[in-house]
Amino acid sequence: GAGVSQSPSNKVTEKGKDVELRCDPISGHTALYWYRQSLGQGLEFLIYFQGNSAPDKSGLPSDRFSAERTGGSVSTLTIQRTQQEDSAVYLCASSPYRGWANTEAFFGQGTRLTVV
């Protein structure tokens, strides 16, 4: 597609339920990133994919969070047993080269998750 696409754009869920957030990167981009944006907290790195593997998952806040990427394209971020502190905007970005060297990352519009 023309840009990074994320779905849903908004998600309201009850505490304790599981949620899945989807990211469609720009076609041909091998690197894919998930970030979390909370009010006043900036952007918090969650996980990085190169192809289908995740060399850096150091930012996942707990074992309730997991992510996968299939076919070197679509990625899904899953949050199990959601908590209120998981409420945030989840951003996905992709870039065409390994790592970030000499290129920019293209961000999606994000998924706003609200846990009630």
């Binding site: 900036g42 952007l43 190169q50 390994r98 970030w100 920019e104 990352a105």
Partner: protein, 113 residues
Amino acid sequence: AQSVSQHNHHVILSEAASLELGCNYSYGGTVNLFWYVQYPGQHLQLLLKYFSGDPLVKGIKGFEAEFIKSKFSFNLRKPSVQWSDTAEYFCAVKIGTASKLTFGTGTRLQVTL
């Protein structure tokens, strides 16, 4: 741990005023530096980037930033802001060979007419 600091959290300027937003990072090695902007209701987009060479970097919409290695800084500047520059601005650093960008907490710029 490496970090990025943006000391101005909320800046209010009148149109035509000059802008400087601070960004400092804590890492002594090779860095790549970025400024991203997020206009209301829109996604993050790249404003400018520094990888090597001339430390004064020009970006889109009249923005520029200067990398001062001795001060660990990469401040964003614009000589004359416009109402349409109202947005949130994020400084980001790629540290060494790491694959991820580390972002600052952002600066909300409000430009009044």
